[in-house]
């Protein structure tokens, strides 16, 4: 059956990626089974500690995904009910095993009889910090039938599934199965394509042989009416007869011809009422960047400041197998988890930018290139223009020196760790953003100072953002990032 898969939605917390795929079939009416589920899912578990060949991907249909959602949701609800080691005040707490047993009893009672042939996925506790997910009938491209999840991995999986559930509730049409009407439309389109190709060949040949034979579509009025609904009206072919020239009727021919009209000049604009205030329309706000599909080795690109000082170029972090594009759905308005910086398509030049909406500029600017793109930035004083990207600040070097003394890469580390550090006015850390799963995982090995703990001198600019790049070979690099307003924290 000819079909095409297309990605409907992608959810990418740090340690897993959930993709929802749809299917378009051009020959659906030939299928003997009724079309019910046309969405499938793929669930990739991203573990930076494992090589690409050992990364696990599950797949299944919409029903299996819904069941997985229910399993994870109820498992976590049991998990938060569990006591911490016989805490006496919470006399109603259970051990994790007891909670699971209660759930298993309930599941037996509520078991759906129409799924006897499906082996369902299960979650089981190993201990409070490790949880085993049995895949059941979910397809896996690896031999293993289960995976051990840490708390953070379980949390990420739950978030992706909850986001999916929210979208299903909010936009039920997004994942709706195709209706009979839509099948007819697609079928009609296919028929038009076929007829459009074959008609010039068949019609001419038949016309030459026997002009009395009509085309097939005229013998079925219902199909003809459907096609007329779709096809635009075709103009009649030109004939070779002379086109008759129009003649004025006698009554009009006796009238005097009118003089041609005067030249039409543009009307003057009415005088402006001085009592009415001039209302300036709001500046154009660019739409959010489109949901670009991931590239296998997509790199993180940041603006390198054009500076005469020795600003080291950004370390390109290549993490094969990890989804680096911004995959979060546009329509989801839940709190967003922070991700690695996406590679955005070239945006049109900013015409005007209000201080409330400075636009991030991630187009790479090689240091030696003419900065004509930067010259198109607005000249008015916005926070972006005030904190010039071309100047470096002493804190960049101070941060680098701090970590050069302390950074000791773990033995198993193979990736580069990148962090976005936002400094407070007193020189302490206001915020730390790990970029990528590996950065999150190894954050506590970096000797990162605590939030609020002073470690560099007080910056003169407001909340400078410094990119910290820690290499597996012990190298430390830092540079100043374009300052921007961040969206609400997740």
């Amino acid at each position: 059956m000819l079909s095409s898969d297309f990605l409907i939605r992608r959810y990418s917390p740090p340690t897993c990626t959930l993709e929802i795929w749809g299917q378009n079939s051009f020959f659906v009416w030939q299928s003997s089974r009724k079309v019910i589920n046309e969405t499938t899912f793929k669930l990739h578990f991203d573990d930076p500690k494992l090589p690409d060949t050992q990364q696990i991907t599950l797949s299944g249909d919409r029903i299996e995904l819904q069941y997985l959602c229910d399993v994870v949701t109820s498992y976590i609800q049991n998990l938060v009910r569990v006591c911490a080691d016989n805490f006496s005040d919470h006399s109603n707490c259970l051990t994790l095993e007891q909670a699971q047993e209660q759930k298993a009893v309930v599941s037996e009672e509520e078991k759906e009889p129409q799924w006897p042939e499906i082996e369902l996925p299960k979650l089981k506790p190993v201990n409070l910090y490790h949880h085993k997910l049995d895949f059941g009938s979910l397809n896996s491209d690896k031999i293993q039938s289960s995976i051990n999840l840490s708390i953070c991995q379980l949390f990420d999986l739950a978030n992706a599934l909850e986001e999916y559930n929210n979208d299903v509730e909010s936009f039920p049409g997004l994942y709706a199965a195709k209706t009979r009407k839509k099948i007819l439309v697609w079928g009609s389109v296919a028929a038009v394509i076929i007829l459009g190709v074959s008609t010039p060949l068949v019609g001419v040949k038949l016309g030459l042989l026997n002009p009395q034979i009509s085309f097939n579509n005229r013998q079925s009025p219902s199909n003809q009416s459907n096609l007329r609904e779709i096809l635009p009206p075709v103009p009649p072919p030109p004939n070779t007869e002379e086109v008759p020239s129009p003649e004025l009727p006698p009554t009009l021919a006796e009238q005097e011809p009118l003089s041609p009209p005067d030249n039409i000049t543009p009307a003057e604009a009415p005088p402006r009422n001085p009592d009415v205030e001039v209302v300036v329309p709001p500046s154009r706000v660019l739409p959010p960047p489109p949901n670009v599909p991931p590239a296998p080795e997509q790199t993180t690109i940041v603006v390198t400041p054009h500076s005469p000082e020795n600003i080291t170029p950004p370390q390109v972090s290549r993490q094969p197998g990890q989804n680096m594009a911004n995959p979060y759905p546009v329509l989801a308005d839940q709190g967003m988890l922070s991700y690695t910086v996406p590679t955005l398509p070239d945006l049109p030049p900013l015409v005007a930018s209000s201080p409330a909406n400075p636009q991030p500029n991630y187009n790479p600017v090689p240091p030696n290139q003419d900065n004509s793109s930067l010259s198109r930035l607005p000249r008015e004083k916005t926070p972006l223009a005030k904190n010039s990207l071309l100047d470096t600040i002493p804190q960049v070097a101070e941060v680098r020196e701090y970590f050069q003394e302390r950074w000791q890469p773990p033995e198993k580390l193979q990736q580069t760790l990148e962090y976005r550090l936002i400094l407070a006015p007193d020189g302490s850390l206001a915020r730390i953003n790990p970029l990528g799963g590996a950065a999150r995982l190894y954050l506590d090995r970096t000797n990162m100072p605590l939030i609020g703990e002073s470690f560099v001198s007080a910056p003169e600019v407001e909340n400078p953002q410094i990119r910290l790049v820690l290499g597996p070979d012990g190298t430390v690099k830092t540079f100043l990032e374009p300052n921007q307003l961040t969206s609400s924290r997740s």
Binding site: Q77, V80, R81, F87, F155, I432, N433, D444, I451, S490
Partner: protein
């Protein structure tokens, strides 16, 4: 009060906090105790100033609902008197409001909570005491100080409780965390 309730109900998350049966007074006190413990854990980790709770309630238009409860709770935190046998009362509207406030703050601090849980997992896997790290050590010290005034839990049990609450906070900070917390406190009250 009814106008404030009507305003709060405009919050779409409020409607997620439904209830089949109204808890009795003893169950409400259990709910209050659990919510208070969650607040202690979040305060200890985030190193919050005391006024952050009221400020967050104001931002969410919930301040009239919970200002009395928060005031009593903070007095209990600062008092040397052990109030565990005299559990603080709470009504349903206060409980709902607190659930929304806690999940909102947890979501704001999700990065920090995740970092703490990740560090906890790492130390456990290496068979090393979690409290010997700066982040978890500070958290545990603050938790002990805050929980000592409101709990009869033996001191040796406070550490496992504190770390378990970190895990709970992580899940309450996620998508639909408010629903999770609401169901959790209803389970605790049974």
């Amino acid at each position: 009060m009814s106008a404030n309730v009507a305003t709060s109900r405009l919050n779409p998350q409020w409607e997620d906090l439904s209830l089949a049966n109204t808890p009795n007074s003893e169950q409400l006190r259990e709910i209050a105790h659990y919510l208070g413990t969650i607040c202690v854990a979040l305060s200890a980790l985030g190193n919050f100033a005391p006024e952050i709770w009221v400020n967050t309630a104001q931002n969410l238009d919930l301040e009239p609902m919970v200002k009395d409860w928060l005031g009593n709770w903070q007095i209990g935190q600062s008092s040397a008197r052990n109030t565990s046998t005299d559990k603080q009362d709470i009504n349903l509207e206060e409980a709902r409001s607190l659930v929304l406030i806690i999940s909102h703050l947890a979501q704001q601090e999700q990065e920090l909570i995740r970092r703490a849980v990740s560090l906890l997992e790492q130390r456990i896997s290496e068979d090393k005491p979690p409290e010997q790290t700066a982040l978890l050590g500070n958290y545990l010290d603050k938790f002990r100080n805050l929980a000592a005034n409101s709990s009869s839990t033996p001191s040796e049990k406070l550490a496992p409780l504190a770390f378990k609450l970190l895990i709970d906070l992580l899940f309450y900070s996620g998508v639909n965390g408010h629903r999770r917390l609401w169901l959790a406190i209803l389970d605790h009250a049974r």
